[in-house]
Amino acid sequence: MAYAETGFNLEIDLTRGNIERVATDPKLTKLYLGGLATNAKILWDRVPPEVEPFSPENLLIFGTGLLVGTPAPGCNRTIVSTISPQTGLMAYSMMGGFWAPELKYAGYDKVIFRGKSPKLVYLWIHNDKVEIRDASHLQGKGAVETQELIRQELKDPNIQVAAIGLAGENRVFTASIEQGRSSASRLGIGAVMGDKGIKAIAVRGTKDINIARPVEYLKLCSEVLKYISDREEKPVPGVMPILAGLGSPQEMLHTDEKWHTENFSWGNSRTRRKEFWTKEVEEKWTATQEGARTRLISCYNCPMKCGAIISLPGMSTYMMKCFSKLTYNMAAFVDDLEFGFRIAQRATEYGVDGFSTPQIMAFAVELWDAGILTDQDFEGCPTDNEGKFYWLLDRIVRREGIGDILADGTHWAAKKIGKGAEAYAHNNIKKHEQLPLKLGMLNPVYFLMYSTGEKSNITQIEGQFPQSPFPTMEEREEFVKDWVHVPDEKFKQYLLDWELRGEKSNPYYPTVDMSVDIVDWQEMMHYIDDGLGMCAGLSSFPLKPPYHIHNYPQFISAATGIDMNEDELSLAAKRSRTLVRAFNIRRGLTRADEKPPEDHWKKRFPELEEQLLDAYYKFKGWNNQGIPTKETLHELGMDYVGEDLEQRGILSYE
C-alpha cells in the first residue's frame, strides 16, 4: 500500500488522445519527496534543452506535494511545472485551493500532459474514469465562469476545476491557471496550457489517502493546529501587521495599506508616494474593502483565511488574495481602491497574473508618454488612467494591435518595439517582471535571493528571517526567546547583532557568509514545502511558523513510513534545489543572468555583490559560473545530472 502519496501518475498524450495510469518509483520519495522535485525530475529526464515552450514535446505537469490531502493543516498545494514562454527556464508556479487534494482522492499524484490537442478540450478525472472531453463550447469563457460551467455540465458541485481564461487560450505570456480561490500565475504556465489546447482539468475523487503511522501522525497534526491557534493570539511585535501573523500576507483582512502604498512604487515601478496614506484615504479604502468583501475564505484543510470573496454591484463574484488587491491601482496611478477590485475581476476571468500584467500596462503607458509608442498604437484608447488600463487589458488578452506585442511581457515587448524601449523594461530579473519595490540600501540577503532564486520572483523565496533588524536589543532578545525554528543557534546571534545603522548593518552585515547561511535556510524551507505541497503561509514565509526543519522529518516519517531525519531532509531539499538549477543551466542560465534590476537599490556595491555570488555558489557546491560540480552531484546521488552536463560540454571533463 502507498502511504501519503498514491503511487500513480496520469500520463495524457494530447496529440493521440491517449490516457495511461502509470505507477511511480517509490525509491524517489525519500530522495526527492514529491511535488516540485519529482516534477523537475520528470522534466529533466524527458524534456531536453532544445525543446521550446510551445513545442508538443514540452510537458505540462500538475504535481501534488507528498503530504497533500493528509490531515496536515495547510497542505494542499498544486505545483505546476513546464518551460516558461517568458524566461525559457523552468516555471513552477503553485496554487493552493482544493484541486490537489481532490486529485489525490481520485488516486493520482500528478497529471502529466504531453503533445497538443488538435481542438480545445478539457480533462475529466473521476477516480478511475478519465476522459478527454470537447471544450469548444467553453472557448473564450472566463476562468471562473468555466469552473462553474463544468460543474453544472457534470452535475456535481464537489468537482474541483483548474481552468484558463482567454489569456491562456491566446498564449499570453502572463496567463494564469485559476482554481477556486487560488491561481498558479507566474511565468506564463497558462499560456502553455492554452497552447496544448487544454481549457480545464476537472477532478472528483472519493478514494482514501493512507497514513503509515496514524496515531503518531495525528498527534503531530493536532500540535500544529494548536500552535496555529496560539500563534494567532500572539502577533510578532515590531513588524507590520501583514507580516506579524501566519498565512500569506493578510491583505484581505487588514485594510491598513500604509506600508505597501508608501514603500512600493507606483506606475512603471518609478514613483514612491511617501505621503499617500492619509486619514481620508484610509477611511475610504477601508469602506471600499469592507463593502466588497463578503467573506474571508480558506484553502483545503487550512484555518488561515488568506482569501476573500469579492462582490461588487454590476459584476460577477470572484475570489482574491494577497497583494493583487493593490497592483492595478498602483500601476495605473488610480487612488480609488474600487478600481482595483473591479479590474481584478475582469483580469481573473481572463486569467492573467496580477503581478506582471499591471506592470506591462504601466510600461506601455510610460512608452506612450515618452512618444516611443504612438497615438496610432493607442487608437481608441480612453485618456483617463482607469480607462487606459481596461483598454490595455482587453488588447493584451486578445492579442490585438499593440496588445499582441505587450502580451509577451515587458522584456520581449521592449525588444520588438525598439527605439530605446528596453530602458523602460527596467524591473525584470531573468526577463520576468518583479514586484515594484525600489529601496535605498542594498540588503545582502535579498540581493542573493533576488539574484539566484530559480523562481525568478522574491515572494516565494523569502521568509523565516526578519526582513529588517529590530531597533533595540530588548526587542531582539524577546524575538529570539522562542525562536525554535532556527536550524542552528548561530542564526539567533546574527539577528541579535544586526543593527539598523553603523558597522553591523546593511550592506556589510549580515556578513557574506552569514547572508549565505540565511539564504540557504530560507530556500531550504521553501524547497521542502514545495516538495510536500505545504503552503508557504504556514511554513517558509512567515516568522515563527508551525512547521520547521525540526518537526518536518517526523511528519514525513509518520505519514510515509520512510524514516527520515533532519540531515536526510536537508539533503532532499538540496537535491531539489540542485536539480532545478541544473535544468535551468542546461537551458542556458548563466551567472550574468543572476542580478536584481539595476535600480532595485539606490546604493549598490559591485564588489560586495560579486563576493556574495561567489560565496553562495561555493557554499552550494557549484562552480563560479553557478553550475553544480560533478562532486556535488555525486554526493547527492545525482551522477545522471553530472554525466549529462558533461556530455553537453557544460561541465568540463576532469
Partner: protein, 176 residues
C-alpha cells in the same frame, strides 16, 4: 408514562463563520477510519459542507438517520437572497444523493458525535469556530422497549412498506 432526563449533545453551527476549508470533513473521515486515523477521505465523512463559494453558500450538515425512500416533493428555500435546496439542510442518508454513504459499500453513515472524545473532532478542528460544541439536558418520555421481533419487523416495514410485510406474514402463515 414516566419522564427521564437525557443529555443531548449539540453542535451549534454558525454558517457566517465558516471559511469553507473542509477540515471537518477530513478529520471526521480520519477519526472513523479503521484503524483510527489510518486514512482519510471526505466522501466517508459524516459531516459534509454544502459549499458554493461564488454564491456565498457555506452550510455544514451532519449525517442523520438512513431513509429508504426519498421525499415525494422537494422544496427550495431562499434565505437572504441565497437559494438552498431543502436537501441542503437534510441529515438523511437517502437514495436521492451520494452524501453520507460509504463509497465502497453504499452503507449509510451517521454522525456519532465522536463518542468517547471530549468533543466531536470536527469542532476541535474548526478554528473558525463555525462549529461549537454544547450540551443540554432534555426531559423526555420514556419510550416502551420494543421486543426483538418487533424491532426487526419495524425495520422491514421501513424498508418494504407495511402492506408488503403484512402480505408476506399472511403468506407465511398459510404455509405454516
Amino acid at each position: 408514562m414516566s419522564k427521564t432526563k437525557k443529555k443531548i449533545k449539540v453542535i451549534k453551527i454558525d454558517v457566517d463563520k465558516c471559511n469553507g476549508c473542509r477540515a471537518c470533513e477530513m478529520i471526521c473521515s480520519a477519526f472513523h477510519a479503521s484503524p483510527k486515523y489510518s486514512s482519510n477521505n471526505p466522501q466517508r465523512s459524516r459531516i459534509r459542507l454544502i459549499r458554493d463559494p461564488i454564491n456565498d453558500k457555506y452550510l455544514p450538515v451532519y449525517a442523520g438517520e438512513y431513509t429508504a425512500s426519498e421525499c415525494k416533493g422537494r422544496d427550495k428555500y431562499v434565505i437572504d437572497g441565497k437559494e438552498y435546496a431543502e436537501c441542503d439542510f437534510c441529515r438523511a442518508s437517502c437514495p436521492s444523493r451520494d452524501l453520507f454513504k460509504e463509497p465502497d459499500s453504499g452503507l449509510p453513515l451517521k454522525c456519532d458525535m465522536c463518542e468517547d472524545e471530549e468533543e466531536p473532532l470536527c469542532v476541535t478542528w474548526c478554528l473558525a469556530k463555525a462549529l461549537v460544541y454544547e450540551e443540554r439536558e432534555e426531559e423526555r418520555e420514556e419510550e416502551p422497549v420494543l421486543g426483538e421481533v418487533e424491532t426487526g419487523l419495524e425495520a422491514l416495514v421501513n424498508k418494504h412498506g407495511l402492506q408488503k410485510v403484512v402480505d408476506t406474514v399472511a403468506r407465511l402463515s398459510k404455509k405454516g
